[in-house]
């Protein structure tokens, strides 16, 4: 596998705008993203007209790109988004407008936002990223699929830089589930081919894979012969206790579906910055398990 590094990260979460705010510890009960405007951060300028998922993705992407120092060739930089439900708020808005004004007079600016790949389009336009762009949906493993899809485009040299973003508006239909911690927001990382990188590496991607294991998650992962971690970051509570020191970013962010994996990756970057040599980010949807191996760069 050609060497791929992470050079920037960004987040919008219940803590607000900024990857450092993911880990503030004291978060609102509902884990909802607070209002973010151009008054609170210049990065939000010009975003107000967009649906919230597109705003959050743009903000998280802005932080990641700024940290990395931008892109070298915008024709070889693309946006890869993982999301399950970013189209839901725009669909709701569209339907409400049709109900209020009649289907014939619905606001024409609303419909383009109802397609799932609208978020990727807005991010690409805002930062002028003209390489291949894709949007993936895979339930709990949506964020992993976006990372996997980005890695494929980097490995085949169709991209030199991949801005990977997971974004979710939250799942109010599950807000009452006692075992469920609702979350929302957007997380972004910039992956670069090491041989064409612009930014300084925060971590190296040693491996990423997904396999069918059912419930036997850790046994299944052992078959992959991956280098052992110092820490495992497992979003959520569906995984059995791992055989290594573990942390759960849901404690800070709640379950934000497609964004959760990216929040977990950012947690992994923080662990590496704090002295860990290697971390695994792991998640499962009870059918497949996915793992991302990050290591410190010497």
């Amino acid at each position: 596998m050609d060497r791929v590094i992470i050079t920037g990260c960004g987040a919008v979460s219940a803590g607000g705008f900024g990857s450092d705010r993911l880990f503030r510890g004291e978060l609102p009960e509902q884990r909802q993203v607070p209002p973010i405007s151009a008054d609170t951060t210049p990065a939000a300028k010009g975003l107000r007209r967009l649906p919230l998922p597109a705003q959050w993705a743009s903000l998280a992407s802005s932080e990641a790109l700024t940290a990395a120092g931008g892109v070298a060739d915008n024709h070889r930089a693309g946006v890869i988004v993982g999301t399950n439900r970013s189209s839901v708020p725009p669909i709701r808005t569209f339907a409400a407008d049709a109900e209020a004004n009649g289907a014939r007079l619905v606001n024409p600016t609303l419909f383009p936002e109802t397609v799932m790949n609208a978020v990727a389009g807005h991010v690409a336009i805002r930062f002028q990223l003209r390489g291949p762009t894709a949007t993936f949906s895979a339930g709990r493993l949506t964020g992993f699929q976006a990372l996997l899809g980005a890695m494929d485009l980097l490995q085949t040299r169709r991209l030199a830089q991949a801005l990977v973003c997971g974004v979710e508006p939250g799942r109010p239909d599950r807000a009452d589930a006692t075992a469920y911690l609702p979350g929302q927001g957007a997380g972004a990382v910039l992956l670069e081919r090491a041989d064409e990188a612009v930014g300084q590496p925060l971590a190296q991607v040693e491996a990423i894979c997904q396999l069918r294991t059912g419930a036997a998650v850790w046994d299944g992962l052992r078959t992959l012969d991956l280098p052992r971690p110092d820490e495992v970051i497992c979003p959520g509570r569906l995984l059995p206790a791992p055989p290594w020191p573990a942390s759960d970013p849901w404690e800070w962010t709640g379950d934000a579906d497609g964004a959760s994996t990216l929040f977990a990756v950012i947690a992994g970057l923080r662990s590496l910055a704090n002295g860990r040599k290697r971390v695994w980010v792991v998640d499962t949807d009870q059918r497949d398990v996915a793992v991302l191996v990050l290591s410190a760069v010497p």
Binding site: R85, A118, G121, A134
Partner: protein, 389 residues
Amino acid sequence: MQRIVITGVGTVTSIGTGVPEFWQNLLAGKHGMAPVVGIDAADLPCQLACEVRYGVPGAPPPPGARDGRATALLAAAINEALAQSGLDLAQAEPVGLCVGTTMGEIGGLEQHLPNLGANVVDPSAITVSIADQFRLTGPAWTITNACAAGNYAIAKAFDDLQAGRARAAVAGGVDVLSWVAFTGFNSLRAMARTRCQPFDKNREGIILGEGAGALVLETAENALARGAAILAEVIGYGLSCDAHHPTQPDPEGMARAMWQALEHTRIRPDEIGYVSAHGTGTPNNDRAEARAMSLVFGARAPHIPISSIKAQIGHTLGAASAIEAITCVQVLQEGMIPATMNLETLDPDCPLDVVPNQPRAGRPRYVLSNAYAFGGNNSSLVLGAWTPS
């Protein structure tokens, strides 16, 4: 690098269930347009659509079935493709699955609009259901790249096979008629009132359709080892993003996808013998696409046969480029190029050989299939006639 081939195709459209019926009706110039039945189109300027038949034996579930219509259409297409390929799924394990869609399984959601509650079904639900139904245990992807999703699904399957994650994969696209899309395209004034006329001077816009297309991709090594009949080869693809506008196309971005496809496949522009156009019938798309053709093919652009089948089956969104890839396979197999129907006066801004109104004999060696989507997503797929060497 592995050569990737197609060994089975399947489709469900408004002009036929199954590739033989679809292809026969396509060449006969038939269309599937009729007054819309499955959704409430009252008060909208356009009330026509190309729907898959309702209420007849073997028809898919009606709209509003929470777990039904899109999955059923795609399952039918995949059934046909797998049957044609003769692939033994148990022996070929793991077999991958790549599904492209725009609206996913939206029927249940739309029944409850504007309140949604627990009625939202993730787009990946189709993929999970199909994987379970057919026991496909390989990599499974759901790509929601709107009107280019089919091409993206084929490209993903291609990459999976090249990377050795599987020896075979099913790639396809599906979309059902949705109230959101129908009302939305009407709101954009992007729909024709009477018919879709790609590249015509007086074209008004799209007619929406629904359907599904599925292709079985394998490594050539696997296909040859089991004695499968190879229908065509997937040579490669190109992708780009306009980064220009959420809905308006950019010819430069379209051209870059075609250039990238040709560059990656090392196919010269003069080797392309047919282009399956995106050809939606909107003033902006068709003009931009013609400009993109000129940028890539130069003086040869007006002489390459290029046709859009959307005049006959409507714009099937996420299914479109999967069905168009199947059309390209048929072109390579049958030596007939489908027409662009409903053409009366060619737009002078679209100086192309659009194969007007009558299909034409032709056996190209390589074909190019283009699909473009909201968000500036551009895709170009290169397919070729199979030759062993």
